[in-house]
Amino acid sequence: MKRVICLAWISVFMIAGNLSAFAGNLNLFEGMKGTLRIAGGTAHIPVMKEAAKRIMTFNGDIQISIAGGGSGVGIKQVGEGLVNIGNSGRKPTDEEINKYQLKMFKWAIDGVGVVVNPENKVKALSKTQLIDIFSGKINNWKSIGGVDKPINVYTRDKASGTRAVFWKKALDKGEITAKANFVVSNGAMKSAISSNPYAIGYVSVGYIDKSVAPVALGGVVPTLENVKQGNYQIARGLYSNTKGEPSGLTKKFIDFIFSPEGQKIASEKGFIPVQ
Protein backbone atom coordinates (compact mmCIF):
# COMPACT_ATOMS: atom_id res chain seq x y z
CA MET A 1 0.00 0.00 0.00
CA LYS A 2 2.75 2.42 0.94
CA ARG A 3 4.41 1.70 -2.34
CA VAL A 4 1.28 2.45 -4.27
CA ILE A 5 0.83 5.77 -2.49
CA CYS A 6 4.46 6.60 -3.09
CA LEU A 7 4.09 5.78 -6.75
CA ALA A 8 0.93 7.84 -6.92
CA TRP A 9 2.65 10.90 -5.45
CA ILE A 10 5.60 10.47 -7.76
CA SER A 11 3.32 10.32 -10.78
CA VAL A 12 1.40 13.38 -9.56
CA PHE A 13 4.63 15.31 -9.26
CA MET A 14 5.80 14.11 -12.63
CA ILE A 15 2.57 15.13 -14.29
CA ALA A 16 2.55 18.45 -12.50
CA GLY A 17 6.14 19.00 -13.49
CA ASN A 18 5.39 18.23 -17.13
CA LEU A 19 2.32 20.40 -17.17
CA SER A 20 4.20 23.40 -15.92
CA ALA A 21 6.93 22.72 -18.43
CA PHE A 22 4.35 22.60 -21.15
CA ALA A 23 2.60 25.75 -20.02
CA GLY A 24 5.96 27.38 -19.58
CA ASN A 25 6.66 27.44 -23.31
CA LEU A 26 4.55 30.43 -24.19
CA ASN A 27 4.40 31.67 -20.62
CA LEU A 28 8.00 32.69 -21.11
CA PHE A 29 6.53 35.73 -22.79
CA GLU A 30 4.09 36.65 -20.06
CA GLY A 31 4.22 40.37 -19.40
CA MET A 32 6.97 41.04 -21.93
CA LYS A 33 6.91 43.99 -24.22
CA GLY A 34 8.98 45.12 -27.13
CA THR A 35 10.17 44.44 -30.62
CA LEU A 36 12.24 41.58 -31.87
CA ARG A 37 13.98 41.80 -35.21
CA ILE A 38 15.02 38.63 -36.95
CA ALA A 39 16.79 38.25 -40.26
CA GLY A 40 18.94 35.82 -42.17
CA GLY A 41 18.60 32.30 -43.47
CA THR A 42 15.55 31.70 -45.56
CA ALA A 43 15.29 28.05 -44.54
CA HIS A 44 14.47 29.15 -41.01
CA ILE A 45 11.62 31.38 -42.05
CA PRO A 46 8.69 28.95 -41.77
CA VAL A 47 9.69 28.05 -38.21
CA MET A 48 10.30 31.67 -37.29
CA LYS A 49 6.95 32.70 -38.73
CA GLU A 50 5.02 30.06 -36.84
CA ALA A 51 6.81 30.83 -33.59
CA ALA A 52 6.20 34.55 -34.09
CA LYS A 53 2.56 33.93 -34.80
CA ARG A 54 2.05 31.99 -31.59
CA ILE A 55 3.99 34.46 -29.49
CA MET A 56 2.25 37.49 -30.94
CA THR A 57 -1.15 35.88 -30.52
CA PHE A 58 -0.35 35.07 -26.90
CA ASN A 59 1.01 38.51 -26.11
CA GLY A 60 -0.15 41.38 -28.28
CA ASP A 61 2.48 43.77 -26.91
CA ILE A 62 5.29 41.97 -28.64
CA GLN A 63 6.10 42.69 -32.25
CA ILE A 64 8.35 40.34 -34.17
CA SER A 65 9.55 41.18 -37.64
CA ILE A 66 11.17 38.57 -39.84
CA ALA A 67 13.25 39.20 -42.91
CA GLY A 68 15.15 36.85 -45.17
CA GLY A 69 18.30 37.64 -47.06
CA GLY A 70 20.38 34.53 -46.53
CA SER A 71 22.80 33.33 -43.88
CA GLY A 72 25.46 35.90 -44.70
CA VAL A 73 22.96 38.69 -44.20
CA GLY A 74 21.82 37.25 -40.88
CA ILE A 75 25.31 37.05 -39.49
CA LYS A 76 26.28 40.45 -40.76
CA GLN A 77 23.17 42.22 -39.55
CA VAL A 78 23.19 40.71 -36.09
CA GLY A 79 26.87 41.55 -35.84
CA GLU A 80 26.19 45.15 -36.76
CA GLY A 81 23.35 45.37 -34.29
CA LEU A 82 20.71 45.87 -36.95
CA VAL A 83 18.74 42.85 -35.83
CA ASN A 84 18.43 40.94 -32.57
CA ILE A 85 18.68 37.45 -34.00
CA GLY A 86 20.57 36.49 -37.14
CA ASN A 87 19.71 33.12 -38.59
CA SER A 88 22.21 31.13 -40.57
CA GLY A 89 22.05 27.83 -42.34
CA ARG A 90 25.74 27.30 -41.92
CA LYS A 91 28.03 27.54 -38.95
CA PRO A 92 29.50 31.05 -38.70
CA THR A 93 33.21 31.04 -39.45
CA ASP A 94 35.71 31.62 -36.68
CA GLU A 95 36.48 34.97 -38.22
CA GLU A 96 32.83 35.99 -38.01
CA ILE A 97 32.50 34.73 -34.46
CA ASN A 98 35.50 36.72 -33.34
CA LYS A 99 34.59 39.85 -35.23
CA TYR A 100 31.07 40.08 -33.87
CA GLN A 101 31.30 38.08 -30.62
CA LEU A 102 28.60 35.80 -31.87
CA LYS A 103 26.84 33.29 -29.72
CA MET A 104 25.47 30.40 -31.75
CA PHE A 105 22.40 28.36 -31.04
CA LYS A 106 21.81 25.31 -33.17
CA TRP A 107 18.21 24.22 -32.93
CA ALA A 108 17.66 21.92 -35.84
CA ILE A 109 19.39 19.82 -38.41
CA ASP A 110 18.61 20.06 -42.06
CA GLY A 111 20.02 18.84 -45.33
CA VAL A 112 20.55 20.40 -48.72
CA GLY A 113 19.11 18.35 -51.54
CA VAL A 114 19.26 18.60 -55.31
CA VAL A 115 15.82 19.03 -56.82
CA VAL A 116 14.28 18.91 -60.26
CA ASN A 117 10.81 19.42 -61.62
CA PRO A 118 8.45 16.49 -60.90
CA GLU A 119 7.98 16.00 -64.66
CA ASN A 120 11.66 15.29 -65.07
CA LYS A 121 12.54 11.65 -65.62
CA VAL A 122 16.03 12.05 -64.21
CA LYS A 123 15.80 11.23 -60.53
CA ALA A 124 19.29 10.06 -59.65
CA LEU A 125 22.74 11.45 -60.30
CA SER A 126 26.29 10.61 -59.43
CA LYS A 127 28.51 13.17 -57.82
CA THR A 128 30.58 13.66 -60.96
CA GLN A 129 27.46 14.20 -63.02
CA LEU A 130 26.26 16.76 -60.51
CA ILE A 131 29.54 18.65 -60.61
CA ASP A 132 29.51 18.63 -64.41
CA ILE A 133 25.93 19.85 -64.62
CA PHE A 134 26.54 22.75 -62.28
CA SER A 135 29.76 23.74 -63.96
CA GLY A 136 28.03 23.72 -67.31
CA LYS A 137 29.97 20.83 -68.85
CA ILE A 138 26.80 18.79 -69.24
CA ASN A 139 24.19 21.15 -70.61
CA ASN A 140 21.46 19.01 -72.11
CA TRP A 141 19.18 16.64 -70.27
CA LYS A 142 19.53 14.01 -72.96
CA SER A 143 23.14 13.34 -71.95
CA ILE A 144 21.88 11.93 -68.67
CA GLY A 145 18.78 10.19 -69.81
CA GLY A 146 16.28 12.96 -69.94
CA VAL A 147 14.55 14.88 -72.72
CA ASP A 148 16.42 16.74 -75.42
CA LYS A 149 16.27 20.14 -73.78
CA PRO A 150 18.91 22.41 -72.33
CA ILE A 151 19.49 22.21 -68.59
CA ASN A 152 18.51 25.37 -66.73
CA VAL A 153 20.70 25.65 -63.66
CA TYR A 154 19.44 27.67 -60.72
CA THR A 155 21.62 28.82 -57.89
CA ARG A 156 21.65 31.13 -54.90
CA ASP A 157 23.72 34.18 -54.14
CA LYS A 158 26.87 34.30 -52.06
CA ALA A 159 25.07 35.29 -48.85
CA SER A 160 23.20 31.99 -48.85
CA GLY A 161 24.16 29.35 -46.30
CA THR A 162 22.38 26.75 -48.37
CA ARG A 163 24.66 27.60 -51.26
CA ALA A 164 27.76 27.51 -49.08
CA VAL A 165 26.94 24.04 -47.79
CA PHE A 166 25.99 22.77 -51.25
CA TRP A 167 29.12 24.18 -52.84
CA LYS A 168 31.39 22.76 -50.19
CA LYS A 169 29.91 19.33 -49.67
CA ALA A 170 28.08 18.41 -52.86
CA LEU A 171 30.16 20.16 -55.48
CA ASP A 172 33.47 19.80 -53.63
CA LYS A 173 33.94 23.54 -54.15
CA GLY A 174 33.55 23.14 -57.88
CA GLU A 175 32.54 25.93 -60.15
CA ILE A 176 28.95 27.01 -60.63
CA THR A 177 28.37 28.18 -64.18
CA ALA A 178 28.03 31.91 -64.64
CA LYS A 179 24.99 31.27 -66.80
CA ALA A 180 22.99 29.98 -63.86
CA ASN A 181 19.81 31.83 -62.94
CA PHE A 182 19.83 33.44 -59.53
CA VAL A 183 17.07 33.11 -56.98
CA VAL A 184 17.05 34.78 -53.62
CA SER A 185 15.79 32.20 -51.16
CA ASN A 186 14.85 28.59 -50.61
CA GLY A 187 11.25 29.45 -51.27
CA ALA A 188 12.18 31.17 -54.51
CA MET A 189 14.27 28.18 -55.57
CA LYS A 190 11.35 25.87 -54.96
CA SER A 191 8.96 28.07 -56.95
CA ALA A 192 11.41 28.38 -59.81
CA ILE A 193 12.05 24.64 -60.06
CA SER A 194 8.41 23.71 -59.77
CA SER A 195 7.46 26.01 -62.62
CA ASN A 196 10.25 25.06 -65.05
CA PRO A 197 10.33 21.48 -66.37
CA TYR A 198 14.00 21.76 -67.38
CA ALA A 199 15.34 23.23 -64.19
CA ILE A 200 17.74 21.89 -61.62
CA GLY A 201 18.68 23.46 -58.32
CA TYR A 202 19.31 22.83 -54.65
CA VAL A 203 17.12 23.50 -51.70
CA SER A 204 16.79 22.84 -47.99
CA VAL A 205 15.52 19.31 -47.39
CA GLY A 206 12.87 20.66 -45.05
CA TYR A 207 11.40 22.58 -47.97
CA ILE A 208 11.02 19.62 -50.30
CA ASP A 209 7.40 18.77 -50.97
CA LYS A 210 5.23 17.52 -53.79
CA SER A 211 5.98 20.47 -56.02
CA VAL A 212 9.59 19.44 -56.57
CA ALA A 213 11.28 16.09 -56.97
CA PRO A 214 14.39 15.22 -54.93
CA VAL A 215 17.35 13.77 -56.81
CA ALA A 216 19.25 10.90 -55.27
CA LEU A 217 22.95 11.62 -54.98
CA GLY A 218 25.19 8.60 -55.20
CA GLY A 219 22.18 6.44 -54.52
CA VAL A 220 20.98 8.28 -51.43
CA VAL A 221 17.73 10.24 -51.64
CA PRO A 222 17.75 13.51 -49.68
CA THR A 223 15.09 12.82 -47.09
CA LEU A 224 14.95 13.75 -43.45
CA GLU A 225 15.38 10.13 -42.45
CA ASN A 226 18.56 9.80 -44.44
CA VAL A 227 19.92 13.02 -43.01
CA LYS A 228 19.08 11.89 -39.48
CA GLN A 229 20.74 8.55 -39.91
CA GLY A 230 23.78 10.06 -41.52
CA ASN A 231 23.28 8.34 -44.89
CA TYR A 232 22.88 11.65 -46.68
CA GLN A 233 26.07 13.57 -46.16
CA ILE A 234 25.03 17.00 -47.25
CA ALA A 235 23.69 18.15 -43.95
CA ARG A 236 23.88 21.35 -41.99
CA GLY A 237 22.62 22.78 -38.76
CA LEU A 238 20.12 25.61 -38.49
CA TYR A 239 21.59 28.26 -36.27
CA SER A 240 20.25 31.35 -34.61
CA ASN A 241 23.03 33.74 -33.67
CA THR A 242 23.12 36.66 -31.31
CA LYS A 243 25.72 39.28 -30.59
CA GLY A 244 27.05 38.36 -27.20
CA GLU A 245 24.85 36.65 -24.65
CA PRO A 246 21.19 37.13 -25.46
CA SER A 247 18.99 38.86 -22.95
CA GLY A 248 15.41 39.92 -22.51
CA LEU A 249 13.05 39.20 -25.35
CA THR A 250 15.83 37.74 -27.49
CA LYS A 251 16.73 35.21 -24.81
CA LYS A 252 13.11 34.23 -24.33
CA PHE A 253 12.66 33.67 -28.04
CA ILE A 254 15.69 31.41 -28.21
CA ASP A 255 14.53 29.53 -25.13
CA PHE A 256 11.18 29.12 -26.86
CA ILE A 257 12.78 27.60 -29.94
CA PHE A 258 14.58 25.06 -27.76
CA SER A 259 11.48 24.32 -25.73
CA PRO A 260 9.37 21.26 -26.59
CA GLU A 261 6.83 23.45 -28.37
CA GLY A 262 9.48 25.21 -30.40
CA GLN A 263 11.17 21.97 -31.35
CA LYS A 264 7.80 20.58 -32.34
CA ILE A 265 7.35 23.50 -34.71
CA ALA A 266 10.74 22.76 -36.21
CA SER A 267 9.85 19.15 -36.89
CA GLU A 268 6.42 20.09 -38.26
CA LYS A 269 8.09 22.38 -40.76
CA GLY A 270 10.28 19.57 -41.96
CA PHE A 271 13.50 19.79 -39.97
CA ILE A 272 15.16 17.52 -37.43
CA PRO A 273 14.97 19.03 -33.97
CA VAL A 274 18.09 18.77 -31.83
CA GLN A 275 16.17 17.83 -28.69
Binding site: G72, K76, K158, A159, T177, F182, V184, Y198
Partner: protein, 285 residues
Protein backbone atom coordinates in the same frame (compact mmCIF):
# COMPACT_ATOMS: atom_id res chain seq x y z
CA UNK B 1 3.27 91.55 -41.36
CA UNK B 2 6.30 92.28 -43.41
CA UNK B 3 8.34 89.94 -41.24
CA UNK B 4 5.93 87.07 -41.72
CA UNK B 5 5.84 87.69 -45.43
CA UNK B 6 9.58 87.76 -45.55
CA UNK B 7 9.93 84.53 -43.60
CA UNK B 8 7.42 82.77 -45.80
CA UNK B 9 9.30 83.83 -48.88
CA UNK B 10 12.51 82.74 -47.27
CA UNK B 11 10.86 79.38 -46.62
CA UNK B 12 10.06 78.99 -50.31
CA UNK B 13 13.68 79.65 -51.14
CA UNK B 14 14.89 77.23 -48.47
CA UNK B 15 12.62 74.53 -49.82
CA UNK B 16 14.01 74.96 -53.30
CA UNK B 17 17.58 74.87 -52.05
CA UNK B 18 16.81 71.81 -49.96
CA UNK B 19 15.46 69.98 -52.97
CA UNK B 20 18.47 70.94 -55.00
CA UNK B 21 20.81 69.75 -52.29
CA UNK B 22 19.11 66.38 -52.19
CA UNK B 23 20.01 65.90 -55.83
CA UNK B 24 23.61 66.72 -55.03
CA UNK B 25 23.62 64.72 -51.82
CA UNK B 26 22.52 61.56 -53.56
CA UNK B 27 25.46 61.77 -55.91
CA UNK B 28 27.74 62.83 -53.10
CA UNK B 29 26.86 59.83 -50.94
CA UNK B 30 27.52 57.49 -53.83
CA UNK B 31 30.90 58.99 -54.45
CA UNK B 32 31.94 59.18 -50.82
CA UNK B 33 30.83 55.68 -49.97
CA UNK B 34 32.35 54.33 -53.12
CA UNK B 35 35.52 56.29 -52.57
CA UNK B 36 37.74 53.29 -51.80
CA UNK B 37 37.08 52.22 -55.34
CA UNK B 38 38.57 55.36 -56.78
CA UNK B 39 41.64 55.27 -54.65
CA UNK B 40 43.26 52.31 -56.25
CA UNK B 41 41.99 53.21 -59.68
CA UNK B 42 39.82 50.18 -59.30
CA UNK B 43 36.77 52.01 -60.47
CA UNK B 44 37.67 51.78 -64.09
CA UNK B 45 38.73 48.18 -63.75
CA UNK B 46 35.33 47.43 -62.34
CA UNK B 47 33.73 48.74 -65.45
CA UNK B 48 35.37 46.17 -67.64
CA UNK B 49 35.50 43.07 -65.51
CA UNK B 50 33.03 40.27 -64.88
CA UNK B 51 31.44 39.56 -61.51
CA UNK B 52 33.18 36.56 -60.00
CA UNK B 53 33.05 36.88 -56.22
CA UNK B 54 34.71 33.52 -55.68
CA UNK B 55 37.77 34.81 -57.46
CA UNK B 56 37.70 38.24 -55.89
CA UNK B 57 36.68 40.03 -59.05
CA UNK B 58 33.77 42.37 -58.63
CA UNK B 59 33.48 43.89 -62.05
CA UNK B 60 30.14 45.23 -63.18
CA UNK B 61 30.81 45.13 -66.88
CA UNK B 62 28.28 42.37 -67.51
CA UNK B 63 25.63 44.28 -65.63
CA UNK B 64 26.24 47.38 -67.74
CA UNK B 65 25.80 45.23 -70.84
CA UNK B 66 22.64 43.78 -69.32
CA UNK B 67 21.15 47.19 -68.60
CA UNK B 68 21.97 48.56 -72.02
CA UNK B 69 20.73 45.54 -73.94
CA UNK B 70 17.43 45.28 -72.11
CA UNK B 71 16.83 49.02 -72.41
CA UNK B 72 17.72 49.24 -76.09
CA UNK B 73 15.85 46.14 -77.16
CA UNK B 74 12.89 47.31 -75.14
CA UNK B 75 13.01 50.57 -77.06
CA UNK B 76 13.25 48.70 -80.35
CA UNK B 77 9.89 47.16 -79.49
CA UNK B 78 8.36 50.22 -77.90
CA UNK B 79 9.31 52.94 -80.37
CA UNK B 80 7.43 51.72 -83.45
CA UNK B 81 4.53 50.66 -81.26
CA UNK B 82 4.29 54.08 -79.67
CA UNK B 83 4.67 55.92 -82.95
CA UNK B 84 1.94 53.85 -84.50
CA UNK B 85 -0.40 54.29 -81.56
CA UNK B 86 0.11 58.03 -81.27
CA UNK B 87 -0.35 58.42 -85.01
CA UNK B 88 -3.56 56.48 -84.60
CA UNK B 89 -4.74 58.64 -81.73
CA UNK B 90 -3.92 61.94 -83.37
CA UNK B 91 -4.74 61.41 -86.98
CA UNK B 92 -5.11 58.01 -88.49
CA UNK B 93 -7.81 56.43 -86.41
CA UNK B 94 -11.51 57.20 -86.15
CA UNK B 95 -12.03 59.98 -83.63
CA UNK B 96 -14.01 58.01 -81.04
CA UNK B 97 -11.70 55.05 -81.18
CA UNK B 98 -8.69 57.32 -80.88
CA UNK B 99 -10.13 58.87 -77.74
CA UNK B 100 -10.79 55.45 -76.22
CA UNK B 101 -7.24 54.41 -76.97
CA UNK B 102 -5.91 57.60 -75.42
CA UNK B 103 -7.93 57.07 -72.26
CA UNK B 104 -6.69 53.48 -72.04
CA UNK B 105 -3.12 54.62 -72.46
CA UNK B 106 -3.56 57.21 -69.74
CA UNK B 107 -4.89 54.55 -67.39
CA UNK B 108 -1.94 52.35 -68.30
CA UNK B 109 0.52 54.87 -66.97
CA UNK B 110 -0.83 54.07 -63.53
CA UNK B 111 -0.04 50.36 -63.66
CA UNK B 112 2.78 49.55 -61.24
CA UNK B 113 5.89 47.89 -62.66
CA UNK B 114 5.68 45.08 -60.15
CA UNK B 115 2.38 44.03 -61.73
CA UNK B 116 4.05 43.78 -65.14
CA UNK B 117 6.78 41.68 -63.58
CA UNK B 118 4.25 39.49 -61.83
CA UNK B 119 2.21 38.81 -64.95
CA UNK B 120 5.43 38.40 -66.88
CA UNK B 121 6.67 35.61 -64.65
CA UNK B 122 3.54 33.56 -64.92
CA UNK B 123 2.30 34.39 -68.39
CA UNK B 124 5.19 35.46 -70.57
CA UNK B 125 8.13 33.42 -69.28
CA UNK B 126 6.60 29.97 -69.90
CA UNK B 127 5.57 31.07 -73.39
CA UNK B 128 9.07 32.24 -74.24
CA UNK B 129 10.52 29.09 -72.77
CA UNK B 130 8.39 26.77 -74.87
CA UNK B 131 8.53 28.90 -77.99
CA UNK B 132 12.27 29.22 -78.25
CA UNK B 133 13.43 26.08 -76.48
CA UNK B 134 16.62 27.75 -75.43
CA UNK B 135 16.81 28.90 -71.87
CA UNK B 136 14.54 29.07 -68.90
CA UNK B 137 12.39 31.79 -70.37
CA UNK B 138 13.86 34.28 -67.95
CA UNK B 139 15.94 36.24 -70.37
CA UNK B 140 16.63 39.56 -72.01
CA UNK B 141 13.78 39.06 -74.46
CA UNK B 142 11.12 38.64 -71.78
CA UNK B 143 12.39 41.63 -69.87
CA UNK B 144 12.54 43.75 -73.02
CA UNK B 145 8.98 42.92 -74.01
CA UNK B 146 7.64 43.82 -70.59
CA UNK B 147 9.75 46.95 -70.47
CA UNK B 148 8.37 47.99 -73.85
CA UNK B 149 4.84 47.68 -72.49
CA UNK B 150 5.88 49.69 -69.47
CA UNK B 151 7.37 52.65 -71.30
CA UNK B 152 5.00 52.76 -74.26
CA UNK B 153 2.16 54.65 -72.55
CA UNK B 154 4.42 57.53 -71.50
CA UNK B 155 5.97 57.67 -74.96
CA UNK B 156 2.57 57.54 -76.65
CA UNK B 157 1.25 60.42 -74.58
CA UNK B 158 4.39 62.41 -75.21
CA UNK B 159 4.27 61.83 -78.96
CA UNK B 160 0.55 62.63 -79.02
CA UNK B 161 1.17 65.92 -77.30
CA UNK B 162 3.93 66.73 -79.79
CA UNK B 163 1.69 65.85 -82.72
CA UNK B 164 -1.09 68.01 -81.33
CA UNK B 165 1.20 70.98 -81.24
CA UNK B 166 1.56 71.14 -84.99
CA UNK B 167 -0.11 74.41 -85.99
CA UNK B 168 -3.54 73.95 -87.48
CA UNK B 169 -2.81 75.95 -90.64
CA UNK B 170 -0.32 73.26 -91.67
CA UNK B 171 -2.93 70.54 -91.35
CA UNK B 172 -5.46 72.62 -93.19
CA UNK B 173 -2.95 73.15 -95.94
CA UNK B 174 -2.63 69.40 -96.45
CA UNK B 175 -6.39 69.07 -96.65
CA UNK B 176 -6.57 71.95 -99.09
CA UNK B 177 -4.07 70.23 -101.34
CA UNK B 178 -6.17 67.09 -101.31
CA UNK B 179 -3.85 65.03 -99.13
CA UNK B 180 -5.10 62.09 -97.12
CA UNK B 181 -4.44 61.29 -93.47
CA UNK B 182 -1.40 59.15 -94.07
CA UNK B 183 0.25 61.84 -96.10
CA UNK B 184 -0.58 64.35 -93.42
CA UNK B 185 1.26 62.42 -90.82
CA UNK B 186 4.17 61.33 -92.93
CA UNK B 187 5.06 64.59 -94.59
CA UNK B 188 3.88 67.27 -92.21
CA UNK B 189 3.32 66.12 -88.63
CA UNK B 190 6.28 63.83 -88.20
CA UNK B 191 8.92 66.14 -89.58
CA UNK B 192 7.53 69.04 -87.59
CA UNK B 193 7.47 67.17 -84.31
CA UNK B 194 10.74 65.36 -84.89
CA UNK B 195 12.31 67.08 -81.94
CA UNK B 196 9.46 66.07 -79.67
CA UNK B 197 9.69 62.51 -80.88
CA UNK B 198 13.40 62.32 -80.18
CA UNK B 199 12.89 63.87 -76.76
CA UNK B 200 10.25 61.31 -75.93
CA UNK B 201 12.50 58.54 -77.13
CA UNK B 202 15.40 59.66 -75.00
CA UNK B 203 13.20 60.11 -71.92
CA UNK B 204 11.87 56.60 -72.39
CA UNK B 205 15.42 55.31 -72.64
CA UNK B 206 16.15 56.87 -69.27
CA UNK B 207 13.09 55.25 -67.77
CA UNK B 208 13.99 51.90 -69.28
CA UNK B 209 17.51 51.97 -67.90
CA UNK B 210 16.29 52.85 -64.45
CA UNK B 211 13.65 50.20 -64.03
CA UNK B 212 14.33 47.60 -61.41
CA UNK B 213 11.42 45.26 -60.84
CA UNK B 214 10.93 43.91 -64.34
CA UNK B 215 14.60 43.09 -64.75
CA UNK B 216 14.79 41.63 -61.27
CA UNK B 217 11.82 39.36 -61.70
CA UNK B 218 12.10 38.28 -65.28
CA UNK B 219 15.62 38.60 -66.65
CA UNK B 220 17.14 35.72 -64.73
CA UNK B 221 19.97 37.59 -63.01
CA UNK B 222 22.80 35.41 -64.24
CA UNK B 223 26.25 36.97 -63.98
CA UNK B 224 27.57 35.73 -67.29
CA UNK B 225 27.82 37.96 -70.32
CA UNK B 226 24.71 37.19 -72.34
CA UNK B 227 25.34 35.66 -75.76
CA UNK B 228 21.88 36.09 -77.11
CA UNK B 229 18.61 37.70 -76.24
CA UNK B 230 17.46 34.36 -74.94
CA UNK B 231 20.16 34.31 -72.28
CA UNK B 232 19.65 35.25 -68.70
CA UNK B 233 21.19 38.60 -67.79
CA UNK B 234 21.50 40.96 -64.90
CA UNK B 235 21.03 44.69 -64.95
CA UNK B 236 22.72 47.28 -62.75
CA UNK B 237 19.42 47.95 -61.05
CA UNK B 238 18.66 44.30 -60.28
CA UNK B 239 22.24 43.87 -59.11
CA UNK B 240 21.80 46.58 -56.52
CA UNK B 241 18.62 44.94 -55.29
CA UNK B 242 20.30 41.54 -55.05
CA UNK B 243 23.54 42.52 -53.37
CA UNK B 244 22.12 45.06 -50.95
CA UNK B 245 21.99 42.33 -48.36
CA UNK B 246 25.72 41.66 -48.42
CA UNK B 247 28.32 42.70 -45.90
CA UNK B 248 28.68 46.44 -46.20
CA UNK B 249 32.28 46.66 -45.24
CA UNK B 250 33.20 44.46 -48.13
CA UNK B 251 34.38 45.42 -51.58
CA UNK B 252 31.35 43.59 -52.89
CA UNK B 253 29.05 46.11 -51.31
CA UNK B 254 31.11 49.06 -52.38
CA UNK B 255 30.58 48.06 -55.98
CA UNK B 256 26.92 48.86 -55.44
CA UNK B 257 27.89 52.48 -55.18
CA UNK B 258 29.77 52.13 -58.42
CA UNK B 259 26.53 50.84 -59.95
CA UNK B 260 24.68 53.76 -58.44
CA UNK B 261 27.19 56.23 -59.83
CA UNK B 262 26.95 54.72 -63.31
CA UNK B 263 23.17 54.80 -63.24
CA UNK B 264 23.16 58.36 -61.94
CA UNK B 265 25.54 59.45 -64.67
CA UNK B 266 23.57 57.67 -67.40
CA UNK B 267 20.30 59.28 -66.40
CA UNK B 268 21.90 62.69 -65.86
CA UNK B 269 23.38 62.48 -69.32
CA UNK B 270 19.96 61.69 -70.70
CA UNK B 271 18.40 64.58 -68.83
CA UNK B 272 21.06 66.92 -70.18
CA UNK B 273 20.56 65.78 -73.77
CA UNK B 274 16.82 66.22 -73.49
CA UNK B 275 17.22 69.71 -72.11
CA UNK B 276 19.48 70.60 -74.94
CA UNK B 277 16.67 69.79 -77.33
CA UNK B 278 14.87 72.57 -75.51
CA UNK B 279 11.55 70.94 -75.79
CA UNK B 280 10.62 70.40 -72.16
CA UNK B 281 7.21 72.06 -71.77
CA UNK B 282 7.96 73.34 -68.32
CA UNK B 283 10.70 75.53 -69.55
CA UNK B 284 8.47 77.68 -71.66
CA UNK B 285 8.88 80.81 -69.57
Amino acid sequence: MKLIDHSIEKFFWIAAVLSLSITVLIFGFMVILGFPLFKGGQFFELLSQPWLPDYGTYGIYHMIVGTLSIAFIGLVFAFPLSLGCSAFISVLGPKRFGQILKKTVQMMTGIPTVIYGFVGIFLLVPIIRELFEHGSGMCILSASILLAILISPTMILFFSDSFDQVPKPFLDAVDALGGNKAQKILYVILPYSLRGVITGLVLALGRAMGDTMIALMVAGNAVALPDSVLDSARTLTAHIALIIAADFESLEFKTLFACGIILYLFTTFITLSVRSFDLMPWRRK
